[in-house]
Symmetry: C2
Subunit: 405 residues, 2 copies
């Protein structure tokens, strides 16, 4: 019996032991856990105490307003490092705002519109493109962000390339931060589609570092404007992973020209956003210092989970040549690559042992990972003890799947 | 000097007296006033006391769910008189849900799509059609609802006629209730566009009667299904004029087939609605009895305003042959027709005396009232004393404008 054969039998035996325990743990979606949610419970009563009148005298219980409350525009301007006049504050969903902006643009984009998608990436971004029949071409992610040579070559050569998805800080799923040079090259991007090209800059995790120094804020609107690309970027962020997931407040930032277009649609689409929820957030978090203090509390809860997951990966897989991974300093995800063709098998092995991961392939457009290698790990929702079990089973599954091949 | 000339001078003198008082009163939008908003202040703290867990155990502070909370689907089912399985509960805006449903349909509608618009009607309905380049043809409203002979003739003869706006209960702006016969004929509508035809049934005021008996609830989905038009209607309503304007909860009801289409889009568009605001409403209002009890309090505040407005119209304009109007038993608006070509002038005279009305014409598609006669009156927002001044000035303006002609 070869060493490899023996190790396979050993892994399988350990895996089967776990399997018999009948566990049921979800590592699938980036959901905050109960301890994190509790941090924001003060939001639930802040208006009962402080009333419903905004700083400018607006009664937030009544109709009116398209741009959002001034205090929330200010707060989001601080979060996104832009000027508050460039901010529109919306409802609970930044994804909904992205969806609407793409729907708006479809009238002026060609039928064969194409988006550049750094891979692996965020499945819900890809879903929007697929829904609207927008083709997706992939570029690889590096530790510095998207492969900029590939991005530039695509954008400059083809007028049907009209957009690109970016998660510049703690990218989903790897947790990479785009380097200064990547950000500079994106801001200066030359595109054949010219004024029709839009960078969808999803800054979902801009204040979500959990160890080390916070990433330096970048006014990406200004960087683009300085490079003559004022109308290229639309920036998005939300409170979903600051306050309550799905019951936060979302916002976008864009050039005055883009905002005018968006306001025209908003005026038709709705009588206005939920200003009470905006006011709740403004009164509770107050300013960027309030946000940062709050995020430090999230970090205390999240950091041990990422570190535990990292530790278990290190302990069980390092040096075996069966996987590569990165442990980020912020965000909600980790990304691991198995050997080629082993991701689906790994996820299935986990599922059979009661550990749910996001389906292999879902970090790629059309849910098709050509290498069948990438798996997204979401360590925030389980307890530390669940996470420990889940990651040990995951490591065994990675190794079993590798040894099977 | 003729009697007419003398009366004109007299009206003008009275009008000028008011004008000198430098009033500033808005009669423009159907906004609840502060006293009404206060009725729902309990919403602001209900979750602090009762927690964030829905009846099915869902933690509403976290992601998940497309259809809305079961208890809110149930409550909306009672409000809309439909089965709860036909309900999807959304965010704060029923207008936004209508906008999205129309956006969804545009892919299957012809380029020259046409909507039937009962006139006078709701400006924001017309704005959505205009935004999407959907042509609008008008049919007249009667006390029984839209002129059904005209509706049937349009719908059956032309496959490009793909939709119709309806506000069946306390129509905006007249406050008419569609008669049983009108509802029956709409449910049985034969359309050339067949499965592509949609009735947008905006039941915004279904629980908003303020005197007399409540309108009998009608399960319009069932009526349509019984007539073989199961997929024709989409029903909308919201809490905006029950709880807080713009910070309520909206919902739609439709056939299973329509819901499947809508869910497909919702899954792409958003991670889910704001379930905390749904839970707030479910816990605060509980059931249809809770809603009705709450609406009786609204009625106590609103009824005197409508009655005062009616009284002043009666006292000042009855029998003079310069205007026709209707005083409704519910809803948020009254509608008045001046002599032909006199609405714009009337509204301008009011504006010059500090009384803001919705622009004349805005109750018609493209803001074009061919008779320049219709004015929408929104009596809810001002105080009784403001309303009294505003209506007296309005009556003088109607008469002055008539006598000028």
């Amino acid at each position: 019996m070869t060493d490899r054969r023996a190790r396979y039998k050993e892994c399988l035996a350990l895996y089967n032991e776990y399997k018999e325990r009948g566990l049921s743990i979800s590592m699938a979606r980036g959901k905050p856990n109960g301890e994190q949610l509790k941090l924001s419970n003060g939001l639930l009563s802040v208006l009962a105490g402080e009333g419903c009148v905004a700083a400018d005298g607006t009664d937030c219980r009544n109709y009116g307003g398209t741009d959002g409350l001034p205090e929330m525009r200010r707060l989001f301007a601080e979060i996104m490092a832009v000027n508050e006049k460039n901010v529109i504050v919306g409802g609970n969903s930044s994804l909904g705002m992205m969806y609407d902006c793409i729907a708006d643009m479809r009238g002026i984009w060609p039928k064969n519109a194409v988006f550049i998608c750094p891979v692996p990436g965020y499945d819900r971004h890809h879903n929007i493109c697929e829904h609207f029949g927008i083709q997706m071409v992939t570029v690889n992610m590096t530790h510095e962000g998207p492969d900029m040579d590939a991005v530039e070559a695509l954008a400059v050569s083809d007028a049907s390339v009209v957009g690109m998805w970016c998660v510049p800080v703690f990218s989903n799923p790897q947790g990479y931060i785009y380097s200064d040079e990547t950000v500079r090259r994106l801001a200066c991007l030359k595109t054949a589609a010219k004024e029709k090209f839009r960078l969808f800059w999803d800054n979902a995790y801009c204040v979500h570092h959990f160890r080390g120094n916070p990433p330096a804020p970048v006014n990406f609107l200004k960087k683009c404007a300085d490079a003559g690309n004022e109308d290229m970027p639309i920036i998005f962020t939300s409170f979903s992973k600051i306050s309550f997931a799905g019951a936060g407040v979302a916002a976008l930032a864009a050039s005055e020209k883009n905002l005018e277009q968006i306001r025209k649609r908003l005026f038709v689409q709705t009588v206005g956003p939920d200003k009470l929820n905006q006011l709740r957030h403004a009164k509770y978090f107050k300013d960027i210092e309030g946000i940062n203090a709050h995020m430090r509390k999230h970090a205390e809860i999240i950091r041990p989970k990422f570190e535990l997951a990292h530790f278990i990966l290190d302990e069980n897989l390092r040096g075996k040549g069966v996987a590569r991974w990165h442990c980020p300093d912020g965000g909600y995800f980790m990304s691991l690559n198995t050997l080629q063709g082993r991701a689906k098998r790994t996820v299935r092995l986990c599922a059979e042992a009661g550990i749910e991961f996001t389906a292999a392939g879902s970090t790629y457009p059309y849910k098709n990972d050509p290498n069948d290698a990438n798996i997204r790990i979401a360590p925030t929702y389980p307890t530390l003890s669940e996470l420990s079990d889940a990651m040990r089973i995951f490591c065994l599954a990675v190794e079993v799947a590798a040894l099977e091949s």
